[in-house]
């Protein structure tokens, strides 16, 4: 294929870069033969065993390593090249890993964590210095997070060992693919030696929305999608193997049960797959998919990536995919081979979601893929890296500073920040303050090193950026392990409670030693485990498409089938309120028995909408004392007050007068962001090495003595206010959770828009989902002790239950 030839040419010219094409288009074969070319022509007189490590292949998915090794060995056999391809992950047999200690193979497939661990051993440096090329697989998955930054730091180190090192990334399409090249290649890489190679996108993706016969079959609001269970059941009958994606883990459990209820003949050939299930269960499901032993699997994002499930010929997405990249990724799980068609059926959960699905379908056709937010200067990871390098041969102040600044993530690292990190890792705390009892690194002749063997071991066990929520095993009384759920979820159950998990109704028997013991329950209903995640906000790209559709509807354009079906409801919206055009912001006022409602529809995703809702409520309560309850979804938000309030008089100008400079501090003041930062600090404390998660074989004991990161957060905030890791946790909350960047964009957009205020006599269809949203927050600027009086002691519910 053309792009493969282009890659070969670029590689031979010594370039680095990215090959991007959709999955199943042979990206692996674009780059791997390039790495082999020099050795095809070379004489094989020398002993192949003397060949050092030449190719390092980094993959974010350990599960892919073995399949990849098999694929990479094929051309070696074809060309009769006597070189070894090996993996190095936790799945690699001990014997192979032991052998790798003395000698590395020609090509090594490993994870970002493993390469960092390798760099922490001084004697590995020589072995890594003959590398021709590092290939980073699934770069799009790494670029937006700290794991990608970990790769950047490792690459900077490897380039130091061999300045001629080539770096190639394999990536699916993302909105900022050019930036992805910059991040991968780092600073100081000559632009002429940097290539972005586009695979021709010949992949055919057919997305269709599964439409009910009548609009009335869909509720106006709801998140389960179960009303569509019958059409879905008859659709999957025609599939060989279907993958059904949902957005939350609890939804997978519900759908699995409903589909089996509708068609009991599927029992035994249906499965469920999500992140809290035990590895063995998941592996079984994956193997069954490959071998075509199951009819359908209900899954969450845990199946988004990973092994190639060739038999899958139909993919369903229950509810809005919320993002275009996600929808494309999921569609690509079917027809995974070049030349095959990927089919995705979008299933609406409620009526208005039809518009969202239509937007997703159009954006997919146009390949309007989201940008990935690039990580900036995560100092927690730098703390980790500094210790890694100190262990792996040591470093001098200026050399490592310059090296680290060649990465995209730390290109703006200041001397002050660097000094702070060195102090923090080395001697602790502020520049002028000495903590003689704390010292992790020794400085001999200007070289920072770690000599404490205990610390070395702890550090190597802590390398990485993936922080699992405290998970608790779910175990049958007789010992079979079912999987894991978050400890906080189990903590909310009492003995005898029933919950659905792993496709079964389970009764909690007892909690002991970080394990939840359960038995099968005969009760059929119960609370469904609710886990974190699954509340991904609508992406900017999708929101844009959605606004366009509503704009089109406002001009009587209902050409798309979803919009045609939705037409009566949109007509009702136009009747009771208006359909906002692209250059309008719709604000609705409505009085009900509950009080005075204000609805605003920024279409900015739930995070941004929540931020805006709180900002406005905060602003309004500052002008006149009032209490608002707030409801939020991806389209807009609602403020509800018992007393009338004047929006147009003051807050109508609000959007136009928001001072972008004060935005961050205002947001912090009105949302409970400190609590969010405290939670975010957990990851930071763990990544930076502030807390140690424990030796794997001592898991329980260490957990008991482990200090909680929230206590550290409080102590740091009180006694070390200049701590940059505290600042980082606040920044991460603003950027990643509250999407401050998007909020700024929205505010700028609004400045140029017309604000349309409408008085509604009846609640508009846009408003209804917000009104029935049970998850309401209240704006409160009170301190903790003031809130306590209004809070309910958790145990009271038990107390009342006994009465």
């Amino acid at each position: 294929m053309d792009f493969q030839i282009e890659t070969w040419q670029a590689y031979q010219e010594g370039c680095s870069g990215i090959v991007h094409a959709s999955t199943g288009m042979g990206k692996t074969y674009a780059i791997w033969p390039c790495a082999l070319l020099p050795y095809l022509e070379a004489e094989h007189n020398d002993d192949p065993q003397s060949q050092p490590l030449r190719v390092l292949w980094l993959t974010p998915l350990r599960a892919l390593a073995n399949d990849l090794a098999l694929a990479m060995r094929e051309p070696l056999e074809f060309f009769k090249l006597p070189y070894q391809v090996e993996t190095r992950t936790t799945d690699t047999p001990k014997g192979v890993r032991a052998k790798q200690k003395s000698r590395l193979p020609f090509a090594l497939i490993t994870t970002p964590e493993s390469i960092s661990i390798m760099l922490s051993y001084e004697d590995n440096l020589a072995k890594l210095s003959h590398l021709d090329c590092v290939v980073v697989d699934e770069w799009h998955e790494l670029i937006g997070n700290k794991r990608g930054v970990q790769v950047e730091l490792a690459l900077a180190r490897l380039r130091q060992l061999n300045p001629k090192l080539k770096t190639w990334g394999l990536s699916a399409t993302i909105g900022n693919i050019d930036e992805a090249v910059d991040v991968l290649c780092g600073i100081g890489h000559s632009p002429s030696k940097r290539k972005l190679i586009r695979g021709k996108d010949t992949k055919i993706i057919e997305a269709t929305t599964l439409l009910p016969d009548y609009l009335e079959e869909l509720p106006w609001t709801g998140h389960t999608g179960l009303p569509m269970a019958r059409p879905v059941a008859s659709l999957i009958e025609s599939a060989r193997t279907a993958l059904i994606f949902t957005n939350t883990r609890s939804q997978t459990e519900q759908w699995y049960h409903r589909l089996l209820d509708l068609n009991p003949s599927y029992i035994g050939i249906a499965a469920i797959h999500h992140g809290s299930l035990d590895n063995d269960v998941r592996h079984w499901v994956e193997a069954a998919l490959k071998q075509e032993r199951v009819k359908f699997v209900v899954a969450t994002s845990s199946l988004d990536l990973g092994v190639d499930f060739s038999p899958v010929d139909m993919v369903l997405q229950i509810g809005s995919p919320k993002g275009v990249a996600r929808a494309l990724q999921r569609a690509g799980r079917s027809g995974h081979r070049p030349g095959q068609i990927s089919r995705l059926h979008l299933v609406p959960c409620h009526a208005l979601e039809l518009a969202e699905l239509c937007a997703a379908r159009l954006a997919m056709d146009a390949r309007q893929v989201e940008r990935r937010l690039i990580c900036r200067k995560p100092l927690d990871l730098l703390c980790q890296h500094v210790l890694t390098v100190a262990l792996g041969g040591g470093f001098t102040h200026h050399d490592l500073f310059n090296e680290v600044r060649t990465t995209w993530a730390y290109k703006d690292l200041t001397q002050d920040e660097w000094q702070w990190v060195l102090n923090f890792v080395g001697t602790g705390g502020q520049a002028l303050k000495a903590y003689p009892e704390y010292h992790r690194m020794d400085i001999v002749d200007g070289v920072f090193r770690v000599t404490d063997r205990g610390l070395a071991l702890k550090h190597r066990l802590s390398i990485g950026t993936i922080v699992n929520d405290q998970a608790m095993d779910v175990v049958f009384m007789r010992g079979n392990r079912l999987g894991q759920v978050e400890e906080s979820f189990i903590a909310r159950l009492t003995k005898g409670d029933t919950f659905l998990f792993a496709g079964r109704a389970l009764e909690l028997v007892e909690v002991k030693d970080m394990k939840a013991y359960v038995k099968l329950s005969n009760k059929k209903s119960g609370p469904i485990p609710r886990w974190m995640g699954g509340r991904m906000p609508l992406s900017n790209e999708l929101a844009q498409e959605l606004r366009q559709l509503i704009d089109r509807a406002s001009r009587d354009d209902f050409d798309e089938p979803e919009m045609q079906l939705l037409r009566p409801l949109l007509a009702l919206q136009a009747d009771r309120s208006i359909l906002p055009r692209l250059d309008q912001l719709l604000v609705e006022r409505y009085k009900s028995r509950d009080g005075y409602h204000l609805f605003v529809y920024p279409f900015a995703g739930r995070m941004v909408n929540e931020g805006l809702a709180n900002l406005i409520a905060y602003h309004l309560t500052n002008l006149a004392p009032n209490t608002f309850s707030i409801a939020v979804n991806d389209w807009g938000f609602e403020l509800l007050s018992l007393s009338p309030f004047d929006f147009s008089g003051c807050a109508g100008d609000f959007f136009k007068n928001i001072d972008l400079k004060d935005l961050e501090s205002d947001i912090f003041a009105c949302l409970n962001s400190t609590e969010m930062a405290r939670r975010q600090f957990r990851e930071i404390a763990r990544v930076s090495g502030l807390i140690f998660q424990g030796y794997p074989y001592l898991r329980k004991t260490v957990k008991q003595v482990q200090i909680s990161s929230s206590l550290l957060f409080d102590v740091f905030s009180d006694f070390d206010p200049g701590n940059l890791l505290i600042k980082q946790s606040k920044d991460e909350v603003l950027e990643r959770h509250l999407e401050i960047g998007r909020m700024r964009q929205f505010i700028e957009r609004i400045a140029a828009s017309e604000i349309c205020e409408v008085d509604c006599k009846k609640a508009s269809p846009f408003a209804v989902p917000l009104m029935v949203d049970r998850l309401r927050g209240k704006l409160s600027t009170e301190k903790v002790h003031q809130r306590i009086l209004k809070m309910q002691l958790e145990l009271e519910k038990d107390v009342h239950a006994q009465v």
Partner: protein
């Protein structure tokens, strides 16, 4: 439901419990009026240093802050005696000179104040400096209907009198709307009172009080009767 006992919430709450006039302070200490005794538990002095000695970073200033709170309480109450219910010190490697001197300085300043320490599990691995001038008791200290102990254990249940203990670092989880807060508390249960941990660098344990218990939660230095 909260019962009324004078002030429901404030910097301190006064109450009569089992015949004793007590004052609960938002600084996480308890004052027994007729004994002129200030009671506190679980200071964990030197914990931050102990962490640093084990190469986990923790900032300075905790010890000074806690001693300042102690000083405030001594002056506010006019206590003549200080009773520490164990875990005064976190660990031997944290008991460094500045910590020793800081508490010795406090003792010098209030020379007339009697001070007693009922040893806690952490203290037993440390030798308590002489300069702290503490009357040291191991196990249980009885005194006219009051029992002072570090950890309340089942074997103490039948002992007559009101038992005051620490060790547990009790806290309750409060739910309001979407929010949930974990706050330290005093836990009154029958003839037992468990004090919150006094040290600022200490964790907490969420208790499960029964409906007959009384719980006083502390946040931002304000104490609030909950049950």
């Amino acid at each position: 439901m909260p019962r009324s006992d004078g002030a429901m919430s404030g910097r301190k709450i006064e109450l009569n419990y089992q015949g004793h006039d007590l004052v609960l302070y938002g600084e996480k200490a308890l004052y027994i009026k007729d004994r002129q005794t200030l009671v506190m538990a679980d200071l964990h002095l030197g914990k931050a240093r102990s962490f640093r000695a084990r190469n986990f970073f923790a900032p300075d200033g905790v010890c000074a802050h806690d001693l300042a709170r102690l000083q405030f309480l001594i002056e506010t109450t006019g206590a003549r005696r200080l009773m520490i219910l164990g875990d005064m010190v976190h660990a031997a490697d944290g008991l460094q000179l500045p910590v020793v001197e800081a508490f010795a300085g406090f003792r010098e300043r209030y020379a007339a104040l009697d001070a007693m320490l009922v040893l806690g599990n952490h203290d037993k691995r440390v030798s308590i400096p002489d300069s702290w001038r503490l009357d040291i008791v191991e196990g249980v200290h009885h005194e006219n209907g009051l029992v002072f102990v570090h950890e309340h254990e089942a074997e103490h249940a039948d002992m007559p009198g009101l038992k005051l203990s620490g060790h547990l670092h009790p806290a309750v989880r409060l739910i309001g709307g979407k929010r949930s807060e974990r706050v330290a508390c005093f836990w009154f249960s029958g003839r037992s009172i468990v004090l919150p941990s006094f040290g600022s660098f200490t964790g907490s344990y969420v208790i499960q009080p029964s409906r007959d218990d009384r719980v006083f939660a502390i946040a931002d230095g304000i104490i609030t009767a909950l049950l």
